[in-house]
C-alpha cells in the first residue's frame, strides 16, 4: 500500500472511530441517566433567579445598585461566602468572611456576633456560585429576617469600581 493510501485510510479510520466513540457515549450517557434513580433532567433551565425565588414569590437576589446604596449608607452587613484565601486576596470593603465550606467553624466567632434583624447581604463570585445562596438559606433558617444575595457579587463589585480591600491595600 502506498503512503498516501495509508494516510487516507488513517483519516477515514479516525473519523469513523471518533463518530463511534461519540455515539456510544451519547447512548450510554442517556441510558444510564434514564435508569438511575438520581438521574437529572436532560434539559433544565439554568438560572440563578429561579434558585433564589422564595416560596412567596419574592426573590432573595438584590441588584448591585441597591446593594451599593446600602453600602454607602452603611446600612447592611456584607458576608463573603468564599474561602479565606480568596477573601484575603480581595473583598468588598468591610465585608465579613464566612466561608460556606467551613461555616461550622465560624459559628461562634461570626454568626453569633451578627444581628439577625440587620440587612445582611451574602456574596461570592461567578453568576452561578452557590456559596452565597447556600449561606443565605442557612441564615434564614437560623432566623435572620433580612437576607439578600448579591449574585456574582465580587466580580460585579470590582467591575463597577466600588470600594474593596485587597491584599496590597
Amino acid at each position: 500500500m502506498t503512503v498516501s493510501l495509508r494516510t487516507g485510510n488513517h483519516f477515514t479510520n479516525t473519523v469513523r472511530q471518533t463518530v463511534f466513540i461519540l455515539l456510544i457515549s451519547v447512548a450510554i450517557g442517556a441510558a444510564v441517566n434514564l435508569i438511575r434513580p438520581d438521574g437529572i433532567p436532560f434539559v433544565e433551565t439554568w438560572s440563578m433567579a429561579d434558585k433564589l425565588a422564595t416560596e412567596n414569590g419574592d426573590t432573595m437576589a438584590i441588584p448591585l445598585s441597591e446593594a451599593a446604596a446600602l453600602f454607602e449608607k452603611d446600612a447592611a452587613v456584607f458576608l463573603d461566602a468564599r474561602t479565606q484565601v480568596e477573601y484575603d486576596q480581595g473583598h468588598i470593603q468591610g465585608a465579613v468572611n464566612l466561608p460556606w465550606h467551613e461555616v461550622d467553624n465560624y459559628f461562634e466567632t461570626v454568626i453569633m456576633t451578627l444581628d439577625p434583624e440587620a440587612m445582611t447581604i451574602t456574596y461570592c463570585d461567578g453568576e452561578a456560585c452557590p456559596l452565597s445562596h447556600d449561606l443565605a438559606m442557612l441564615l434564614k433558617d437560623l432566623g435572620f429576617t433580612r437576607v439578600k444575595v448579591l449574585v456574582n457579587g465580587w466580580t460585579l463589585w470590582k467591575e463597577h469600581d466600588l470600594p474593596v480591600t485587597t491584599q496590597s491595600s
Binding site: 503512503v3 495509508r6 494516510t7 485510510n9 488513517h10 479510520n13 479516525t14 473519523v15 469513523r16 472511530q17 471518533t18 463518530v19 463511534f20 466513540i21 461519540l22 456510544i24 457515549s25 451519547v26 450510554i28 450517557g29 442517556a30 444510564v32 441517566n33 438520581d38 438521574g39 437529572i40 433532567p41 436532560f42 434539559v43 433544565e44 433551565t45 439554568w46 438560572s47 468564599r82 480568596e86 460556606w100 465550606h101 461570592c124 463570585d125 461567578g126 453568576e127 452561578a128 456560585c129 452557590p130 456559596l131 465580587w154 466580580t155
Partner: protein, 154 residues
C-alpha cells in the same frame, strides 16, 4: 544501520504505550466522580458560563461517558486513531476554556477531576496541567499516525 533503527523503534514503542496509558488514566480517573454526581457536574458546567442553559445537562451527562469510553479505548489499545484524536480535541477544548476563564477572572471550580463545586478552583497550575495533557495527547495522536501509516509497526 539496523541497530540504530531498532533502538529508535523501541523508543517510539515505549513512548506510544506510555502516553497511551497515561492519558487513559487521566480520562478514566476524570470521568468517575462526574458520572457518580451528574447534578454537581451539571452545576460545574453551568458555572463555566459558555453553554446555553438547555445544553448544560446534556453536556454533563455525556461528557463524562465520552471521557470514560475514550479512556477505555486508550487502555485496551483499540480504536486508537479515533481515541487519540478525541483526546487531543478534548484537551484543546479544556485548555481553551481554562484560558478563557482565567482571562475573565471568573472564580469557579474546575470540575476537572471532581464534580464538587467550590473545590479545586481554576488556577495557572490547572492551565499548566491541561497543557501538559494536551502535549501528551498530541504526541500520542502523532505516534498513532506514524504507526498506522509507516511500513514498520512500532
Amino acid at each position: 544501520m539496523p541497530q540504530k533503527k531498532l533502538s529508535h523503534d523501541v523508543i517510539l514503542t515505549i513512548g506510544y504505550h506510555f502516553t497511551r496509558l497515561a492519558m487513559a488514566g487521566v480520562f478514566i480517573y476524570a470521568s468517575i466522580d462526574k458520572i457518580i454526581h451528574p447534578d454537581l457536574f451539571a452545576e460545574a458546567v453551568y458555572n463555566y458560563q459558555v453553554l446555553p442553559g438547555y445544553l448544560v445537562n446534556l453536556t454533563a451527562l455525556i461528557l463524562p461517558w465520552l471521557e470514560l469510553i475514550l479512556g477505555f479505548c486508550l487502555l485496551i489499545n483499540r480504536w486508537m486513531a479515533g481515541a487519540s484524536a478525541l483526546a487531543t480535541g478534548l484537551m484543546t477544548l479544556f485548555v481553551g476554556l481554562t484560558l478563557f476563564n482565567l482571562a475573565r477572572g471568573l472564580d469557579i471550580s474546575c470540575g476537572c477531576f471532581s464534580a464538587a463545586p467550590g473545590e479545586n478552583p481554576i488556577t495557572l497550575l490547572t492551565l499548566v496541567r491541561d497543557i501538559s495533557f494536551l502535549i501528551l495527547s498530541l504526541g500520542l495522536a502523532r505516534l498513532v499516525f506514524v504507526k498506522n501509516t509507516s511500513r514498520q509497526l512500532i
